[in-house]
C-alpha cells in the first residue's frame, strides 16, 4: 500500500484512540480530506520544484509507533544541550517521556499538546489558536489530521521565562521505519519573552520521516527567540513547517542549523499583523554526501513600518543539494517596510549544487526591499594567506567557513548553545580547534 493510502486508512483508527468527541475532531476530519485530495507535494508544484520526496516516501513507515521503550537519560545525553539549565519536553517515538522531561505549570505552561487538546480548561485557547495559521496545504493538513502530541507552551503576559525551553523528538528505530507527526503550539503573550530550542533526533539508522508543524503566536511586544537544530542521521528526513503570527512591536527570530539528515525541508512563514514588527530568520546549512536541504521562507508584510531580515549561509560538499526559496510579500498597506534578504553559498565540490530563488511581491510604493544571493568557492587567495601563516589546509578551510557563517552564529543569544553548534560544525569540518571568532 502506498504511504498516502496507508495514512488515510489509518485515520479512523487514530481518531478512535485519541478522542472522537474532542473539539478538534472537525478540524482533523477536514484536514484528512485535504490530504486525501492533495496528497504529498510533488515537483510539479512551484514551491517543490527542486525537492522530491520520492526517495523518502518509498519506505513502509509505521504510522503508530509502539509506545514501549527503555531509553534512559544516558542513551540520549549527547543530544541534550545538557549544560543549559532548561525546561525540557522530550518525546520518544512520538510519545511523551515524562522521566526525561521537566515541564511546568508554575507561572507559565510548558507542557503537552495532548493535554491542551483534551482538557476542558484549554478549550478556549485551542479554539482561538489551534490550526489558525498553519497552512491548509496537503502536507500540513496531514499533520493536522494526526495532531495529538507535541509541545504546548503558553507564556503569560509580561513573563520573561527564566531559562530556555528544549523540545526534543527522539526516534528509537525499534521499528523498521517510522513516521512522526509532532504538533507544537506556542503562545507568547503581551510583553513576554521566551527562548526555545527544538531538535529532532534519530537514534538508529532505520528510516524516519518526521512531518512537524509548529504554530507560534507572538502577541504585542512579545520576544520569541527560536532555534532549530537539524543534525540528524543519514536515514532521517524532516519536513518542518513553522508558522508565526506576529502582533504589533513583537520580535521573532528563528535560527535554523541544518547540519545533517537525509532530506530536510523547512517551511518558515511569518505573518505580520501589526505595526513595527521585526521578523528575523537566519540559517546555516552545512551538508555533504547526498544530503538535501531546502529552505522555503515567506514573510508576509501586511501592515506599515515593519522589518524583516533573512540571512542564510550554505556550504555544500560532495553531491549535496540545497534550495533556498525566499518569498517576501509586501501588501499595499505595508508602507515603510524594510525587508532584507541574503543567501550566500559556497560549493566545495563540482557535484554539489544550490538552487536559490528570491521572490519579491511588492504592492506598496514606499518600501525598502533588498535581496542578494551569491554562489562561490572558497577564496584561493585567502587560503594561501592563511596557509602561509602556518594554518594547515583543513584548518584554513574550516576557519574560512566559520568566518563565512559567523553573521548567523553571532546572533545566537544562548552562549552554551552557540558553543555547542560551533562544536558540531567543527566536527563536521573534521577540525578540533574551536574558533572563538
Amino acid at each position: 500500500m502506498e504511504l498516502k493510502e496507508k495514512l488515510v486508512s489509518s485515520f479512523m483508527a487514530f481518531e478512535d484512540t485519541v478522542d472522537v468527541n474532542s473539539t478538534i475532531h472537525d478540524i482533523r476530519t477536514e484536514a484528512i480530506k485535504t490530504f486525501e485530495a492533495e496528497g504529498f507535494p510533488s515537483k510539479r508544484l512551484e514551491d517543490w520544484k527542486y525537492t522530491s520526496l520520492n526517495s523518502v516516501l518509498k519506505h513502509d513507515y509505521s504510522v503508530f509507533p509502539k509506545s514501549e521503550n527503555d531509553i534512559e537519560f544516558k542513551d540520549i545525553k549527547p543530544y541534550f544541550s545538557h549544560d543549559i539549565d532548561a525546561y525540557k519536553i522530550i518525546f520518544i517515538d512520538g510519545k511523551y517521556a515524562s522521566h526525561l522531561s521537566q515541564t511546568t505549570h508554575d507561572g507559565l505552561d510548558v507542557c503537552l499538546m495532548s493535554a491542551a487538546l483534551t482538557k476542558p480548561k484549554y478549550k478556549v485557547i485551542i479554539d482561538n489558536y489551534f490550526n489558525k495559521i498553519a497552512s491548509k496545504n496537503g502536507i500540513s493538513s496531514l499533520n493536522t489530521a494526526f495532531s495529538y502530541e507535541g509541545a504546548y507552551i503558553n507564556i503569560p503576559k509580561n513573563k520573561v521565562v527564566d531559562k530556555p525551553i528544549q523540545i526534543i523528538h527522539f526516534s528509537t528505530g525499534n521499528e523498521a521505519a517510522v513516521m512522526l507527526q509532532p504538533r507544537n503550539l506556542i503562545i507568547v503573550n503581551e510583553n513576554a519573552h521566551v527562548q526555545i530550542i527544538e531538535r529532532h533526533q534519530s537514534l538508529t539508522d532505520n528510516p524516519v520521516l518526521t512531518n512537524s508543524v509548529t504554530e507560534i503566536f507572538a502577541n504585542k511586544r512579545a520576544i520569541v527567540d527560536y532555534y532549530k537544530i537539524q543534525n540528524d542521521r543519514q536515514n532521517a528526513s524532516l519536513i518542518d513547517s513553522t508558522f508565526i503570527n506576529q502582533k504589533q512591536e513583537s520580535l521573532a527570530k528563528v535560527h535554523t542549523f541544518a547540519l545533517g539528515g537525509k532530506l530536510v525541508r523547512n517551511n518558515l512563514e511569518f505573518y505580520q499583523n501589526g505595526e513595527r514588527i521585526d521578523s528575523t530568520m537566519k540559517g546555516i546549512t552545512i551538508i555533504g554526501d547526498k544530503q538535501h536541504v531546502d529552505h522555503n521562507t515567506l514573510v508576509h508584510h501586511i501592515e506599515p513600518n515593519c522589518e524583516s531580515h533573512q540571512d542564510y549561509k550554505g556550504i555544500f560538499d560532495d553531491k549535496a543539494t540545497g534550495v533556498f526559496n525566499g518569498k517576501v510579500v509586501v501588501e499595499k498597506l505595508a508602507q515603510k517596510t524594510n525587508a532584507f534578504q541574503a543567501n550566500n553559498n559556497i560549493l566545495l565540490s563540482d557535484k554539489a549544487s544550490i538552487n536559490t530563488k528570491p521572490q519579491l511581491e511588492i504592492f506598496a510604493d514606499d518600501v525598502k526591499c533588498s535581496h542578494g544571493c551569491t554562489i562561490g568557492q572558497l577564496d584561493e587567495s585567502a587560503m594561501f594567506y592563511l596557509r602561509s601563516r602556518g594554518i594547515p589546509e583543513k584548518e584554513a578551510k574550516a576557519l574560512l567557513m566559520f568566518a563565512f557563517s559567523n553573521t548567523v552564529l553571532d546572533s545566537v543569544k544562548i552562549p552554551e548553545l552557540k558553543d555547542r553548534i560551533t562544536k558540531i560544525i567543527a566536527e563536521k569540518l573534521g577540525v578540533s580547534i574551536g574558533f572563538d571568532l
Binding site: A382, F384, Y385, S388, G390, E395, L399
Partner: protein, 250 residues
C-alpha cells in the same frame, strides 16, 4: 639559510621566472628591485609556496632542505614568512584569533602544546606596542576595512608574532606614509638578528634608507641581471632601470 638554484616558474604555462640564482645567509638583508612585471612578487610567492605557480626547473633550499614539494603551511612551520603586497581581507576572523590559530598550529606541527593564553596575551601586547598598533584594532576582522598602511603594519605585526627565520617583505612600503614607514622599518630592524634573514622587495630606494640591505639585486624579465651593494639602489633611484636594460641587452 636560503639557496635558490636556477629557478624557473610559470603560471598557466606562461614562464615568469627564468633562472633565478640567489643565496641568502643568516643575518643578511637582501633587497630585490626591478620594474613592474619583472617577476618580483612571483619570486616571493613561489618561495612561500603558492600552488598556482609551477616550478618547472631548479630548486629552493631552506637550510639545505629542498622545500619545493612542501605546502605553504609547512614552509611557514619551517620559518618562512611572506609579508603580502596585498593582504587578503577575511571578514569574520579577528586579528587576535587569527594569530592565536597560526601560532598554535605552528607549535602543533613542532609537537609543542598550545601557547598558554597568558603568554599569548603578553606577546600580543608587546608586539602591538612595538608597532604602535591600537589594541582595538586587534579585535577587528582581519584586514577588513583596514587602510593600506594598517594592512602593512598588521603584516609586520604577524611577522613579529611568528618570529620567522626568513622574512620576505613584498612591497611593504607601498601605501605607507612616512611615519608608518618609520614604525614598520623600526619593527623589522628590531626583529633582525644574526640568525634570521630578510628579503625586501621594493620599487623604491626609500625603504632601503630604513632597512639597510647588505645586497641589492635587480630582477628583470624573470632573471637577476645585476647584484651589488646598497649603492646600487641609489643608482637605480637616480637613473631608473633603462641603463641596466641596455647594459644586459634586455
Amino acid at each position: 639559510m636560503l639557496k635558490i638554484n636556477n629557478l624557473h616558474a610559470s603560471i598557466e604555462d606562461k614562464a615568469i621566472l627564468k633562472g633565478i640564482n640567489l643565496e641568502v645567509k643568516p643575518g643578511e638583508v637582501h633587497a630585490i628591485m626591478g620594474p613592474n612585471g619583472s617577476g618580483k612578487s612571483t619570486l616571493a610567492s613561489v618561495v612561500a609556496g603558492k600552488e598556482e605557480y609551477e616550478v618547472t626547473e631548479g630548486s629552493i633550499l631552506l637550510e639545505g632542505e629542498d622545500i619545493e614539494e612542501l605546502g605553504a603551511e609547512e614552509r611557514a612551520h619551517k620559518g618562512v614568512f611572506l609579508s603580502f603586497q596585498y593582504p587578503v581581507e577575511i571578514p569574520g576572523v579577528s586579528v587576535t584569533n587569527f594569530m592565536k590559530t597560526a601560532i598554535n598550529e605552528t607549535r602543533k606541527a613542532k609537537g609543542l602544546e598550545d601557547m598558554p593564553a597568558k603568554d599569548m596575551l603578553k606577546m600580543i601586547r608587546e608586539k602591538s606596542e612595538m608597532l604602535e598598533i591600537d589594541r582595538k584594532f586587534l579585535s577587528r576582522s582581519l584586514n577588513e576595512g583596514f587602510s593600506g598602511g594598517e594592512k602593512k603594519r598588521n603584516e609586520i605585526f604577524q611577522m613579529a608574532m611568528l618570529e620567522p627565520k626568513l622574512a620576505i617583505l613584498d612591497e611593504t612600503d607601498s601605501g605607507l606614509d612616512i611615519d608608518a614607514l618609520r614604525i614598520v622599518s623600526d619593527g623589522v630592524n628590531k626583529l633582525k638578528s644574526k640568525d634570521n634573514a630578510v628579503i625586501v622587495i621594493t620599487h623604491y630606494q626609500r625603504l632601503l634608507d630604513y632597512i639597510v640591505p647588505d645586497y641589492v639585486h635587480v630582477l628583470l624579465n624573470g632573471k637577476i641581471v645585476k647584484s651589488g651593494t646598497k649603492e646600487l639602489a641609489h643608482e637605480l633611484e637616480a637613473k631608473g632601470y633603462d641603463w641596466i636594460k641596455e647594459e644586459v641587452g634586455a
